[in-house]
């Protein structure tokens, strides 16, 4: 089984924010929620680099470890998903996440948090695949249609790669060898540096 990962090639990213727009459009995310963002280092200076970042679907996901209701689960492809029916909107996953992936639509006065929303690797949620309920809560389930994440598919310079880790790592390795620079795989140490945990959904996680 493939292990799904994201890889952003900082040598190629041109900060067009096409991935951000593609994600918003594909999933019709609520206002104020950004599942993906592009961060530019040294903007306007020599050595400028841009990196597109979203949930990296970590091996040992901190969100999963701190969730007080255990609403996260991991698919057999290593995609970290969560059950919005169980989420209580405490914000702990947002404290723990290194990438700022968990987003909270405001659900009342004083910043009261609603149900957490984050990148699903275009893999939906615990509901029936491609159902209306799944789309409403988690957005489109492209993986079940045999497609890869919309952000990576849409990327104009193919800087953002999403898919089977072995395949995207091969593509990246070839690029690095040809151009002779830019071998830094952003966020991979943080996201995939620890042994895989919680690879199978816990029993009863799907309500």
């Amino acid at each position: 089984m493939a292990r799904m990962k994201f890889l952003c090639d900082a040598e190629r990213c041109i900060e067009c924010n096409g991935c951000v727009t593609a994600c918003k459009n594909e999933h019709e995310v609520p206002w104020g929620v950004n599942r993906r963002r592009v961060v530019t280092l040294n903007d306007g200076l020599p050595g400028e680099k841009s990196i597109s970042v979203a949930c990296m679907h970590c091996s040992d996901a901190p969100c999963m470890a701190v969730c007080p209701v255990d609403c996260f689960y991991k698919t057999s492809e290593g995609v970290v998903l969560h059950d919005k029916d169980l989420c209580i909107g405490c914000g702990y996953c947002f404290y723990a996440c290194p990438f700022g992936a968990p987003q909270f639509p405001q659900d009342g006065a004083f910043g009261l948090r609603g149900k957490m929303d984050k990148c699903t690797f275009c893999a939906g949620g615990p509901e029936q695949d491609q159902s209306a309920a799944e789309f409403k809560k988690y957005g489109r389930n492209r993986l079940s249609e045999g497609k890869l994440p919309a952000c990576a598919e849409m990327c104009s310079t193919k800087a953002l790669l999403g898919g089977d880790a072995d395949v995207i790592a091969d593509i990246y390795r070839t690029r690095v060898l040809k151009r002779g620079k830019g071998s830094e795989v952003w966020g991979w140490g943080t996201a995939y540096g620890k042994p895989e945990k919680g690879a199978t959904p816990p029993a009863g996680a799907k309500s």
């Binding site: 924010n17 951000v20 950004n34 963002r37 592009v38 961060v39 530019t40 280092l41 040294n42 903007d43 306007g44 200076l45 020599p46 050595g47 400028e48 990196i51 970042v53 901190p62 470890a65 701190v66 969730c67 007080p68 209701v69 255990d70 609403c71 059950d83 029916d85 169980l86 989420c87 209580i88 909107g89 405490c90 914000g91 702990y92 947002f94 404290y95 723990a96 996440c97 290194p98 990438f99 700022g100 405001q106 004083f110 910043g111 009261l112 948090r113 952003w186 966020g187 943080t190 009863g204 996680a205 309500s207």
Partner: protein, 350 residues
């Protein structure tokens, strides 16, 4: 946790300094230059780059997405918070609560409740006036609600969830979060009122040392005189109600109102401090609740009705009893209150 101390101490000053920092940011040397210089001195050392990646406060690090800390690429404090919360606070805090419950259970089994040595006279003294009782129960009820919901949020995953299942536990946790968030500010207000109402009679006195030296006679069963509040109660007042009460209130506000754009690091620190303080608070409260209910005969009635028997006052708070009977105004309750004086007179008639 690099800016932790500065953030906490400088919270008030920050607003004043804000106007002055704008030109400082503009004068900041670019990390690209710093990185280039570092590569000359120490090739392969990329720390200037990584500092920006984690910090996100470099003015040349940008993103189109609006929001708090969206320019931070990788925040590493989250992992520290996770390890502290999951491996230290949850584990030791949980066992601390269990241990305290066991100690109290063992004490009850071994010693039983502390009963009066003489027959009650039936003559009653006013120990807690209406306002004092109102404040106490306001704080007590909100505290118990917060303690129960907090314990559910922290330990429910390990204790309740395996028993009652995901759906029901999520419902309870959702309710716990709402109750915790809305009752929290009520408790903060009650904490302030508690302090103002009870501080006068909780000021330390010389005889408190005697009480402490003898452990309040808790184990020996000997009689140790005390004022309106004994040293144990004073310790609970200063360490629990006041000290921990203020700590959980302040950190609670930081966590409860994310609309003030505070960063994650501040909330992580607030969460850890909140959890530790709250666990100590709950642990101490178990002792207080035990002594106030089943532990001491007549103690619950004093806060429920406001009145205690004369013998109770004599046996538990002798100095206060003497002052009250003498009509001395220095100690609260008792004859300090006209109602108490009349109640006492009626008592004497019987």
């Amino acid at each position: 946790m690099r800016f932790g101390l500065k953030q906490w101490l400088g919270a008030g000053l920050a607003a004043l300094v804000l106007g002055l920092t704008a030109p400082v940011i503009a004068a900041d040397t670019s990390s690209a230059q710093e990185q280039a210089a570092r590569q000359q001195a120490q090739p392969g050392n990329n720390s200037p780059v990584w500092r920006d990646v984690r910090g996100g406060d470099n003015p040349y690090q940008t993103t189109q997405v609006r929001g708090v800390e969206t320019a931070v690429l990788v925040q590493t404090e989250g992992e520290t918070w996770r390890q502290l919360r999951n491996r230290v606070v949850t584990v030791y805090g949980g066992w601390l609560l269990v241990l305290m419950a066991l100690v109290i259970g063992a004490f009850y089994y071994w010693k039983g409740p502390i009963k009066l040595h003489e027959q009650p006279t039936g003559r009653k003294l006013l120990r807690f006036a209406y306002w004092e009782r109102t404040v106490h129960w306001g704080a007590a009820i909100s505290f118990v609600l917060l303690a129960i919901t907090g314990v559910i949020i922290m330990f429910g995953k390990h204790v309740l969830l395996p028993i009652i299942g995901y759906t029901l536990f999520s419902l309870i946790a959702q309710l716990s979060k709402l109750v915790h968030n809305f009752v929290g500010p009520v408790f903060a207000v009650c904490t302030v009122l508690m302090f103002l109402t009870y501080v006068k009679d909780n000021l330390p006195k010389a005889h408190d040392l005697q009480w402490l030296a003898k452990g309040g006679g808790l184990l020996s069963g000997s009689h140790v005189p005390s004022g309106r509040f004994n040293a144990g109660e004073k310790a609970w007042f200063w360490m629990g109600v006041t000290g921990l009460g203020v700590v959980v209130s302040i950190t609670g506000f930081v966590l409860n109102f994310p609309n003030f754009e505070q960063g994650r690091e501040l909330m992580q620190q607030a969460n850890v401090i909140h959890a530790i303080a709250a666990l100590l608070f709950v642990t101490m409260s178990l002792g207080h609740i035990y002594m106030g209910t089943v532990g001491v005969e007549g103690a619950y009635d004093s806060m429920r009705t406001g009145y205690v028997d004369e013998i109770w006052a004599k046996e538990h708070h002798e100095y206060w009893y003497r002052d009250a009977v003498a009509g001395d105004n220095k100690s609260g309750g008792g004859a300090a209150n006209p109602a108490a004086a009349s109640a006492m007179k009626e008592g004497w008639k019987q």
